[in-house]
């Protein structure tokens, strides 16, 4: 593929990226199967069957309502703590938004690579710059609040374990490396850039950022506190949501 068109101003090795992505997805799927086997007493089928039975039981509210009000808008959290809701929504919207944008762009790149259609990838990427930037800042603000909360509030600080820090600091590392990689892009269309932006450095940083994102935010999910991103929505669906 053309270097200039690839994400973050040209990661030259699309194959390496693809390899890391496939590896991450494979690890993720393996972890999910292990988790489902653990939940299902050794059987994925037993888990799925119990989950479907619970999610479709009489009296549950519509799954659409659960998805919108309980999972996306997290109404149970705002009822308890508007402050934590704002913090969590910033992280949630930022993280999910960037994931969706990355997946869409990766899909265009993929289609382009395998010759299905012809896309102006540079234009698409530039078009994604602003939303990416916004999502990145939302995520960063949410993470900063989360970190300050964990350090400054004594009750929260006392009960914080490495299990919790891994989640926050992991996403922070990804966010910060994303901003740095973006800042080094010579053609960056961002609010700020590093003086003397360096294309070679930009490519290396972009590759590093994407690699840790895939490994940390995809592969590591089933083995860490990230698992709540899947298990909590599934729990809400299984119980038919509601306040």
């Amino acid at each position: 593929m053309s270097e200039g068109f690839s994400y973050y101003s040209g990661i030259p090795t699309f194959e390496i990226m693809l390899g890391i992505a496939l590896f991450a997805v494979l690890i993720f799927l393996t972890g999910m199967i292990l988790n489902m086997k653990k939940w299902g007493g050794g059987s994925v089928k037993a888990f799925l069957s119990a989950f479907i039975k619970s999610a479709t039981k009489e009296g549950n509210q519509s799954i659409i309502v659960t998805l919108v009000l309980d999972i996306f808008l997290q109404r149970r959290l705002i009822r308890r703590s508007p402050f934590r809701w704002i913090m969590h929504m910033l992280i949630f919207v930022g993280w999910v938004g960037m994931l969706v944008l990355s997946l869409i762009f990766a899909a265009f790149e993929m289609l382009s690579e395998i010759g299905i259609g012809s896309y102006d990838l540079a234009m698409i990427r530039d078009g994604f710059d602003a939303p990416n930037e916004i999502m990145g800042y939302l995520l960063l603000i949410g993470l900063i609040i989360a970190i300050i909360r964990r350090i400054a509030l004594s009750d929260v600080s006392k009960r914080t374990e490495m299990f919790d820090w891994v989640l926050v600091l992991g996403i922070l590392a990804i966010t910060v490396t994303g901003f740095i990689a973006e800042g080094y892009r010579p053609d960056a269309n961002t609010l700020w850039t590093f003086v003397g932006a360096d294309e070679a450095m930009a490519k290396t940083l972009a590759l590093f950022h994407v690699a840790i994102s895939l490994l940390f935010c995809i592969a590591y999910i089933p083995f860490s506190k990230y698992m709540h991103m899947i298990a909590a929505p599934l729990t809400l669906i299984a119980h038919g949501g509601g306040e």
Partner: protein, 444 residues
């Protein structure tokens, strides 16, 4: 604060190296998933009544219990366990976890406030059962339940023939009716004022009702709540027996004045039997509220008191009955109704549930004292409820807070110028001009 009892020494068969230290076979898959869904936000810790009563001993924290069991699951069934064999878990850690889990009243407020919507009641009960099967649980006197309920069909060591001893001569029990009254062991044996009041109220309202009498078995709630439903298959047998006996009487509606039995009949019996009973399960408070709406209740007295209502966990959070009892109390002439700060699904547990009253009575008392203080804060003259266990434990809590012994729980609560703890069915009977006197007890 409740003091930790001396730990019981239990013999657990040695776990071979590399084998999982815990099993999870009786915990349903969705409950197991929930252990991974916890975000560790700690909201549950802000509400847990046991944690408050234990002066924030974090071993009791719902969040920490979830973390510990998740850790046990990871060590037993996680990636590392799959690759290299399960990691050993020190027995004392599992026993500590067990003991802390059995300090929970299974009130479920942790689930009500959980942003991830965890159904903690199911998690705690199933995990308790797993620990009982393992040999760690239950706790203290809870271990007597299976023998008592299994053999005697009630937890009070009474003969089934004594089931109808409470019925006074003036009470009329129908031979046939669409409606049955399921008395429950506590009202029938130990708090007879509740059974007598219920029966007299129904008679007064011209609601004919049948009863199972000697054929009524304990609902099994105590066994389910304490993780012992498998022992002798007692709760399932009780569910089948009671449901079939009630169906054989041809009733369409069964009234419960005990929140524990009502919860068991609404949720546990259908679950244990794999089918719904062919009758409607109704709590007496909802039934009375319906009659009030229909204008069928004409009060004959006035209370002239400030009354607050404590939602029993088994009636409110577990099943969702919140408004019926309030409607009844608010309709009583002269009542000034006040809500406690924590009410409905956020109510503070009385402390008796989950086997805590039997297993850790000091803790139950401490939790109850907290709830009594809630009622004192709103200057209530009467702390009303709709559950014999709440009535008893809140009564004990009131006595502890006041520093005196006032109650004989078999009779109407009698206090001298102090806050009364009473069931709404007793208040209803009084305001309908009925006697709440129980039949004189036989000489011991």
């Amino acid at each position: 604060m409740a003091e930790e009892k001396k730990k019981e020494v239990k013999t657990i068969p040695e776990i071979p190296k590399g084998q999982p230290a815990i099993k999870v076979d009786v915990i349903d898959p969705v409950s197991l998933m929930q252990y991974d869904a916890c975000t560790r936000c700690g909201e549950c810790d802000n509400w847990c009544p046991t944690l408050d009563a234990m002066k924030k001993d974090m071993n009791i924290s719902p969040r920490d219990k979830i973390s510990r069991w998740r850790d046990f699951m990871g060590k037993s069934y996680g990636l590392r366990a799959k690759l290299f064999g399960a990691k050993a878990i020190p027995e004392d850690k599992i026993q500590d976890f067990n003991d802390h889990l059995f300090h929970c009243t299974t009130c479920g407020v942790c689930g009500s406030v959980c942003p991830a919507g965890l159904n903690t009641i199911e998690m705690w009960e199933a995990t308790r059962q797993q620990l009982v099967l393992r040999g760690n649980g239950p706790y203290g006197k809870q271990s007597l339940f299976p023998k008592l309920i299994g053999e005697m069909h009630n937890p009070y060591m009474k003969d089934q023939k004594q089931r109808l001893d409470w019925i006074p001569d003036d009470v009329e029990i129908a031979d046939e009716s669409d409606i049955a009254y399921f008395t429950g062991c506590t009202a029938g044996f130990n708090q007879q004022v509740l059974a007598v009041s219920t029966a007299r109220v129904l008679n007064k309202l011209k609601v004919p009702f049948v009863m199972l009498g000697e054929d009524e078995w304990c609902c099994g709630s105590a066994l389910i709540r304490t993780g012992q439903p498998h022992i002798g298959d007692t709760p399932r047998q009780a569910a089948i027996h009671n449901v079939e006996a009630l169906e054989a009487k041809g009733v369409k509606k069964v009234l419960f004045a005990c929140a524990g039995c009502f919860r068991a009949a609404t949720i546990d019996w259908p679950h244990l039997m794999g089918r719904k009973p062919n009758f409607e399960v109704v709590h007496i408070a909802d039934y009375l509220a319906e009659l009030i709406e229909q204008g069928k209740i004409k009060w004959e007295g006035t209370l002239d008191k400030t009354v607050t209502y404590h939602d029993p966990c088994h009636l409110g959070r577990h099943v969702g009955v919140f408004e019926g009892p309030r409607k009844v109390i608010q309709s009583m002439p002269g009542v000034k109704f006040v809500e406690m700060d924590r009410n409905r699904d956020l109510q503070r547990c009385c402390g008796a549930g989950g086997g805590v009253k039997a297993g850790i009575p000091d803790l139950a008392l401490e939790v109850a004292s907290g709830r009594v203080k809630d009622a004192i804060d709103v200057k209530a003259d009467i702390l009303a409820s709709a559950c014999p266990f709440c009535r008893r434990n809140l009564g004990d809590g009131r006595d502890a807070v006041l520093g005196k012994k006032t109650g004989d729980f078999n009779k109407k609560d009698a206090v001298d110028g102090e806050m009364m703890v009473e069931d709404l069915i007793v208040l209803t009977a009084e305001l309908l001009g009925l006697s709440t006197d129980i039949k004189p007890l036989p000489e011991k």
